[in-house]
Structures are given as structure tokens and as C-alpha cells.
């Protein structure tokens, strides 16, 4: 414990930790946000076109089996980025999270009751507006569950990116192991955990804000 106190006592270390934390937030949450948008678009295509559905769901299952470290290494070869470019991690995680979210989005859209969508159409909604104001809001509970899994998974996977030197809290593990110094490793674990919990809490708050109707039954 004394080690950790000494480690955190240094102002330079604390500043470096903050940088790593912010890097970590950036590297994990940007892909999350991008993939939510992508998954909604792809989920909509799955929902509307049966053939797209089979293809995309199959593809997303395959993508999810590719090891993350391999993906980090392959991406520069595919899109021509530098090996150490943080963009590699962002793209890789976006691919993963999108693959994770497509199926629940498609399923949530399919679960919107037919009489509700029929009523919306009969009321004079155009397709895009109907999607954005009726079908999508009704899919939020399922989508939110997927996003929470995605956020935890991204926050842990960003640490793997440190192995190819892309920054984030994972750097604490690589440094700690190289120097055989336990303090940064423990600090890294704690910060990663706290970050995951805080993001999850924020996501739950956001979900509740967007879906007051799901709790309406309880207040009767």
C-alpha cells in the first residue's frame, strides 16, 4: 500500500494518469457513439430487408470472433494507417461494438407491435419520421442493454491496445509488468473498473431519461 501512496504522491504521475484516463475515455467512448449510429442504420436495414438481415447477422457473428489484438494489427494493413495510430483502436472497437449491437437493434425494431406501427402509418407519419419518433424510441430499452455491454467491453478492450502502444490506462499494465512494479498495475485496474462503473451509471441515467414510459406501470 505504501508503494501506491508513493506512486500517487508524485504530481507528474498524477498528471500522466489523468492524461491516460482521458485517452481511455476517448478511445472507448468514441467507438461506442459511432457504433450506436451505425447499428441503428444497419439494424433498420436488417429490419426492412430480410436478405440483408441474414447476411449482416452472420457477418457480425464472424467479426466478433476475430481476436482484438489481431484486429488492431490488421487494420493498418487494410486502411493504411500507422501501426501506432489511435485510429486503429477506434476503428476496431467500432467494428466490434457495431457487430454487437446490430442484432438487438433489429430485434427491438421487430418487437414493436404491428398495431402501433400500423396506427402510426394510418395517422400520416412518413417512413423516416415514423422510424425516428415511434419505432426507435420504443427500441431504446433493448438498445440500451446492448450499449451497456458495449461500453464495458470497449473500456476493457482499450487496455489491450496498450500492447501496440496506443495509450490509455492499459499503458499502466505494460509499464508495470516491464518494470516489475505493482503500484501502476493496481491503480490501472482500479481506474478501469471505476471508469466502467461510472459510464454504466451514466448510461442507465440516460436510458431512464429516455424511457419514462417503461416505469409508468409501477407508479399506478
Amino acid at each position: 500500500m505504501g508503494d501506491i501512496g508513493k506512486y500517487l504522491g508524485d504530481a507528474g504521475t498524477r498528471a500522466a494518469l489523468l492524461d491516460m484516463l482521458l485517452d481511455h475515455v476517448y478511445l472507448s467512448l468514441v467507438p461506442l457513439a459511432v457504433s450506436v449510429v451505425l447499428a441503428i442504420v444497419l439494424g433498420l436495414l436488417c429490419h426492412r430487408f430480410r436478405r440483408v438481415n441474414a447476411t449482416l447477422i452472420g457477418l457480425s457473428n464472424v467479426v466478433y470472433t476475430v481476436p482484438s489484438l489481431a484486429l488492431f494489427a490488421i487494420i493498418p494493413a487494410v486502411i493504411g494507417t500507422q501501426v501506432l495510430d489511435p485510429l486503429n483502436v477506434i476503428i476496431a472497437l467500432t467494428v466490434y461494438t457495431t457487430a454487437l449491437l446490430v442484432r438487438p437493434v433489429a430485434e427491438a425494431l421487430a418487437a414493436v407491435p404491428a398495431h402501433v406501427t400500423a396506427a402510426a402509418t394510418a395517422m400520416g407519419f412518413r417512413p423516416l419520421r415514423r422510424f425516428l419518433t415511434v419505432e426507435l424510441p420504443l427500441s431504446v430499452p433493448v438498445l440500451a442493454a446492448g450499449v451497456r455491454v458495449g461500453s464495458v467491453s470497449n473500456i476493457s478492450l482499450v487496455s489491450v491496445g496498450a500492447l501496440i502502444g496506443t495509450g490509455g490506462l492499459g499503458t499502466l499494465f505494460t509499464d508495470g509488468f516491464r518494470q516489475r512494479y505493482l503500484a501502476p498495475i493496481i491503480v490501472g485496474i482500479v481506474l478501469t473498473l471505476v471508469l466502467a462503473l461510472v459510464v454504466d451509471l451514466l448510461l442507465v441515467l440516460l436510458r431512464d431519461r429516455l424511457t419514462p414510459w417503461t416505469r409508468a406501470g409501477e407508479r399506478l
Binding site: 398495431h115 402501433v116 400500423a118 396506427a119 395517422m123 407519419f125 415511434v134 409508468a216
Partner: protein, 349 residues
């Protein structure tokens, strides 16, 4: 006015849902499409607001071919009530009702104000407006569905089995409510149901359709009961149709006789006749039998109501005397089944 001109709908799988439908729905009336499942009644309804487009033929709303109108614009001018109400679960009752006004560009404030008026119109308390649909009973949800369909004050209302998911007592209340609203609003209503009793109860005219989308008969309900076009209609209209057709004949020709009465709580004495017990306000409370026991009365009918009511009052009365009451529920007199039957016979001649 809605007009179907030789309208046929064949689906991609080769089934014919509607076959050569020719029919005019008069403005300001309730027309009911009724028939067994697969008779094309819902498909016909959906061709009015272009949820389905015909394979051939023309559907006109107020003389205008609906195929010439952009579907969303067309639909905003036609109210639609769906089975199970189809309310948006994620919007409050008030915002559900405000849907079409908001779509047509009203301000939120004005749309909500209009929605509140409509909740009142369909007989729902204002505080329900803040709730979500899941917090409402089935009957309340249907009322909200009707309010939502009426929000933009469309001249035409399409109702697709709107009351079939609620229990019979609630359904009857909703039917009465619809008739009351219609008397006030004078909409052109097309109503789809598989329930012939509902059709006869609320329709100004009823279109009976048979499997394969063929119109079997299009007539006012009384005519459907008394002169079914063929065996299919007769069978579909069902049992007791002779008796039920009396619903459409008023009892004006039935003379009521003075009732032998005895005041409630008074000394009964003895009598060889049945006597009607009345309370201080002259309302019927039951009968005193010749052996002086008190028995509950039968059904009551209001003077001038249908012959069905008069006949039922006589048939259900323990004394054989049907009790007629005035609008305030006071005893107006009594009738026998024989008198009612005589009136029926004399009208026939």
C-alpha cells in the same frame, strides 16, 4: 362521401381479398362492413386511406380518386381507429391524442389544448392525459384511440374492429358512446367488425361480405333482418332475427292500459289479480301475486320505444303484463304480449 367503383384487390400470393366491390358510403352516416374472416372487410377499409391500393377499380373520397393523393397527406385527413387502439406506448395519453395536429404543424401548446378538449369529448377525465397508455384500462385505451382519430377533426373516420378486444359490457358502453358522438359530430364513418350484432346496433347501413371479397348485401339493418338477400346473409344474421328485427319498429301503435297498482309499504289487502308495486315517485318496484307474495318485475320499456322492448317487457313480466314507463321512469301503463302481436299483425296487413 366514399365511393367504391368496381374495386378489386388481389394479393401477390394470388388470393382475391376484394372482388368487384361497388358501394357508396353516404356522408354523415355509419356504414358497417361485416363478414367472416377473409371476406375482405379490413382490406376494403384500408383502401380508403391507401394502407392498401386496389389492383383495379377506383376509390373516391368526396369525389376525389385517392390514388391521386400523397398517402401521408391523405391519411392526416382521415381518422383511423385500430383494434387494440394502437396507442404509442412511449407517449402520454395527451400526446397520443395530439399526434395528428402535431404532424400537420400545430404548435405543441395548441395541439395539447385540442387534445384536452377531445379527452373531455370522449368522456375521459383530464388527469388521465398525463398517464401512459399502459396505465389505462382497455375501454379507456379505446376511447383515447377514438379521441386521437378525431383530433384533427377529419370528415371521415375509419374504424377497424375498434371494440373487439374489450369485454361485452364495456363494448356496449363504447358503442353507445360512438352513437352519441356521431349524433354530435356527423362524421362519415366506415366501421369494420365480425360481430353482426354490433353491425346491426350501430350501422345506418350494413354491408355483409362473404369469403372471397364479394358483397352479399348492402342494406339498412332492419332490411337485413327482415329481407336477407340469400341463405348466406340469413345464416350470418343468425338466430332470432325475426324477434331482433322488432328493434327497428316503434311501439307507437300499442295502447297501454292503466296498471292495477299498490303503493310500496301500504296494506296489500287481498286480490285475485296481480298488482304492480310502485314507490312514492310512481316507479315500479315489483309485483304482488294473487297469493300476496311479492315477486321482482320483468324488463321495462319506455313508451314509444321499439316493439322488441314492449314484447320483452310483457314476456319477462311475472304477471304477463309488460310495464311501460315514461322518460322519468314513472309507470305509464301495462301491455300484454297479445297487444304487441296484434300490432305486428295489423302492420303486416
Amino acid at each position: 362521401m366514399i365511393e367504391f367503383r368496381d374495386v378489386t384487390k388481389r394479393f401477390d400470393d394470388g388470393t382475391t381479398a376484394v372482388n368487384g366491390l361497388d358501394l357508396v358510403v353516404e356522408a354523415g352516416t355509419i356504414t358497417v362492413f361485416v363478414g367472416p374472416s377473409g371476406c375482405g372487410k379490413t382490406t376494403s377499409l384500408r383502401m380508403v386511406n391507401r394502407m392498401v391500393d386496389p389492383t383495379s377499380g377506383t376509390v373516391l373520397v368526396d369525389g376525389r380518386d385517392v390514388l391521386g393523393v400523397d398517402p401521408p397527406a391523405l391519411r392526416r385527413g382521415i381518422g383511423y381507429v385500430i383494434q387494440q387502439a394502437g396507442l404509442f406506448p412511449h407517449r402520454t395519453v395527451l400526446d397520443n391524442v395530439a399526434t395528428v395536429p402535431l404532424l400537420t404543424g400545430w404548435t405543441r401548446r395548441k395541439a395539447r389544448q385540442r387534445a384536452a378538449e377531445l379527452l373531455e369529448l370522449v368522456g375521459l377525465p383530464a388527469e388521465l392525459g398525463r398517464r401512459y397508455p399502459v396505465q389505462l384500462s382497455g375501454g379507456q385505451q379505446q376511447r383515447v384511440g377514438v379521441a386521437r382519430a378525431l383530433a384533427a377533426d377529419p370528415p371521415v373516420l375509419l374504424m377497424d374492429e375498434p371494440f373487439s378486444a374489450v369485454d361485452p359490457v364495456v363494448r356496449e358502453g363504447l358503442q353507445d358512446e360512438l352513437l352519441r358522438l356521431q349524433a354530435e359530430l356527423d362524421k362519415t364513418i366506415v366501421f369494420v367488425t365480425h360481430d353482426i350484432d354490433e353491425a346491426i346496433r350501430i350501422g345506418d347501413k350494413v354491408a355483409v361480405m362473404r369469403t372471397g371479397g364479394v358483397l352479399a348485401q348492402y342494406a339498412p339493418p332492419a332490411e337485413l333482418l327482415t329481407r336477407p338477400a340469400d341463405d348466406f346473409v340469413a345464416g350470418f344474421v343468425g338466430k332470432d332475427r325475426g324477434y331482433r328485427s322488432l328493434s327497428f319498429v316503434d311501439s307507437a301503435g300499442v295502447e297501454v292500459a292503466r296498471a292495477p297498482t299498490v303503493a310500496e309499504g301500504a296494506e296489500r289487502g287481498s286480490s285475485s289479480d296481480w298488482r304492480l308495486v310502485v314507490d312514492a315517485d310512481d316507479r315500479p318496484r315489483g309485483w304482488v301475486a294473487p297469493d300476496s307474495t311479492v315477486v321482482p318485475g320483468g324488463s321495462l320499456y319506455e313508451v314509444g320505444a321499439s316493439l322488441r322492448g314492449a314484447l320483452d317487457a310483457a314476456l319477462s313480466s311475472p304477471s304477463g303484463l309488460g310495464v311501460a314507463v315514461d322518460a322519468d321512469g314513472r309507470v305509464a301503463g301495462v301491455v300484454t304480449a297479445r297487444q304487441v302481436l296484434d300490432v305486428i299483425e295489423s302492420r303486416r296487413g
